[in-house]
């Protein structure tokens, strides 16, 4: 209980600091809202122009992109700002975090919770609900569970990627935008039906790294469509498992990173 109150205090500190710059907070909030709308619109424009993409209609495509963007928005809101770890490592703020009686990762996340991204989550959920209603889905208890679990597992999966790639900063302070290739790059990959991609690239990202299970496979199972690439319908239910594996891997990388932390001069 005391610990929760302590984490709440870290969050309160952040919230009050943000609130001391009101106008810039509101501007940030609206800019972020715009960015999410653009993300979804990009995919819709593609489908709109082409009619169907790799055998998927506009509404089916909308379901895939909304599952992906909803999961991503939650992850980006919850742990996205861990990207700033490199700044903290460089400036030594990490030292101050490590001398407090609380876990380092939850502190960093709460110290920097991007409240301006909160609206993105709402938009993401809204688009997903619309996509679920626009498609002709044969609702069963398993499909209801899948519709709820998929964005959450996606959030966990993207969160793990955020943490693992940010941890690079412990070894390599100038890790720059390497992480973005996997976070934002991964989100864009998951926004499209898999048959759009080809060869080793598809094999590596979709199955090797698990991006295929974030939105594409669950969407097929929700729609009751067979996978043109041949995986059975049960593959749609694998996303929580894939997310847990990714989370475990990210935890290992994060721990190793903390041990490797070098701090900076005095």
């Amino acid at each position: 209980m005391g610990e929760l109150r302590a984490y709440a205090a870290i969050f309160t500190g952040q919230w009050r600091s943000v609130a001391s710059y009101r106008t810039s907070f509101v501007v940030d909030l609206l800019t972020n809202l715009g960015a999410t709308v653009v993300d979804v619109a990009t995919v819709l424009v593609l489908f709109g122009a082409a009619g169907s993409v790799a055998g998927f209609t506009l509404t089916e495509g909308l379901l895939i992109v909304s599952l992906s963007s909803c999961g991503f928005a939650i992850a980006d809101f919850a742990v996205g700002n861990i990207e700033r770890l490199q700044t903290y490592v460089r400036s030594g703020t990490m030292d101050a975090v490590l001398v407090r009686p609380l876990g380092a990762l939850p502190q960093l996340v709460l110290m920097d919770l991007p409240l301006r991204k909160a609206l993105r989550v709402l938009v993401g959920v809204g688009v997903l609900v619309a996509a679920l209603r626009l498609n002709d889905i044969d609702w069963t208890p398993a499909r209801v569970a899948l519709a709820v679990l998929t964005p959450l597992a996606g959030a966990l999966f993207f969160g793990a990627i955020f943490v693992a790639t940010a941890s690079l900063a412990f070894w390599w302070v100038e890790s720059g935008q390497v992480g973005s290739a996997f976070t934002y790059g991964g989100r864009d990959f998951t926004a499209y039906p898999l048959p759009v991609f080809e060869g080793w690239f598809r094999a590596l990202f979709a199955y090797g790294m698990g991006f295929g299970f974030v939105a594409y496979q669950p969407a097929l199972t929700l729609l009751g469509r067979p996978d043109p690439l041949g995986l059975p319908a049960v593959a749609g239910f694998l996303s929580p498992l894939v997310a847990l594996i990714a989370t475990g891997a990210a935890a290992v990388v994060w721990r190793a990173g903390i041990r490797h932390y070098r701090s900076t001069g005095s």
Binding site: G2, E3, R5, A6, A8, A9, I10, T12, G13, R16, S17, S20, Y21, G92, T93, M94, D95, A96, L98, V99, R100, P101, L102, G103, R259, H260, Y261, R262, S263, G265, S266
Partner: protein, 317 residues
């Protein structure tokens, strides 16, 4: 009872050094190269050394920020890195350059947030804050956002922040760096008072030897990651041959071929009217008596050795 134990403590860093146009070589540098030290409860230890000697690295290993490459370390009976969060509850840390305060919030808010982070009962927190407020004179700027505080005010805030949970060990990394004379005095007398209670073990690094002379009985000099001196300031003088100097003004020069035992003649000035001796023993009386029997004395002065000189010599050697 020892509060801090270090045995063979070591920290290596790999650095990449440019070798040629594109090639870079990896080199291992020992920032801390085998330190053995114990600190007893209630001690006040000053840690000095040139830049890059390994002072901060040692402090960071003691506080659980850095993982040692080799060796053993224990603080308050805990292993700093594996038991970092437990240890954090019993130590206070002031890193001169790293703030524990919320930049955009009034000082008062930072203190109340820290109360929750360290899970301090309201009564104990209020009592400690009251004491710091009066000793450090915080009342004038408690409601000012930290970003608008002067360095001296902020440092007083940092000290308070580090003490509100009642730590048994306080680590201070250059607590007086960049402060003006008045703020330095305020910080020093506060720390002296804190140390005098004997409840808190104090370990501080500094470049300002006045901090050590004022606060610490025990002085640890570190250079190239090794302890080169551990003891009192007096022991440092004894060991490095810094002696007290006796300067005598005479009415007549000393007779040729004179002998003075227990002192060494180092200078003769003003046609023999001023002579300087380094005292070899601790007593100046015997030397003064010998001088008085040799010539008529007009004036005498005794100069204490300058610790800055000693340390400068130590760094160079």
């Amino acid at each position: 009872m020892s509060v801090i134990t270090m045995r063979g403590l070591r920290k290596d860093f790999t650095v990449r050094v440019r070798a040629g146009r594109l090639r870079r070589e990896k080199r291992t540098v020992a920032a801390v190269d085998g330190i053995d030290l114990t600190v007893a409860a209630g001690e006040m230890v000053g840690y000095i050394g040139p830049n890059g000697a390994g002072k901060s690295t040692t402090l960071k290993m003691l506080t659980g920020v850095l993982t040692p490459t080799a060796g053993e370390v224990s603080v308050c009976g805990l292993a700093p890195v594996p038991q970092r969060t437990r240890l954090a509850l019993s130590i206070g840390v002031v890193f001169g350059q790293r703030s524990q305060l919320w930049w955009d919030l009034p000082l008062r808010d930072s203190f109340s947030l820290l109360r929750h982070i360290y899970r301090v009962p309201a009564g104990a927190h209020a009592a400690r804050l009251r004491r710091c407020r009066s000793l450090l004179d915080l009342d004038g700027f408690l409601d000012t956002p930290v970003r608008q505080l002067s360095l001296g005010q902020r440092m007083r805030g940092e000290l308070t922040a580090a003490l509100l949970h009642g730590p048994s060990v306080l680590f201070l990394d250059e607590p007086t760096i960049g402060l003006d004379v008045v703020s330095k005095q305020a910080v020093r007398s506060f720390l002296a008072e804190l140390g005098a209670t004997g409840d808190v073990t104090l370990v501080l690094t500094t470049h300002d030897l006045a901090d050590i002379e004022r606060l610490c009985e025990r002085l640890v000099v570190i250079d190239h990651g090794r302890v080169v001196h551990d003891g009192t300031i007096e022991a440092l003088h004894d060991r490095y041959g810094s002696r007290r100097r006796l300067v005598a003004d005479l009415d007549t020069p000393l007779p040729p071929g004179f002998t003075v035992t227990g002192a060494e003649l180092v200078a003769v000035e003003a046609d023999g009217h001023r002579v300087s001796f380094d005292l070899l023993s601790s007593s100046a009386g015997a030397v003064v008596a010998q001088l008085a029997s040799l010539a008529s004395l007009r004036d005498l002065s005794l100069l204490e050795p300058d610790i800055e000189d000693v340390v400068a010599r130590l760094y160079r050697s």
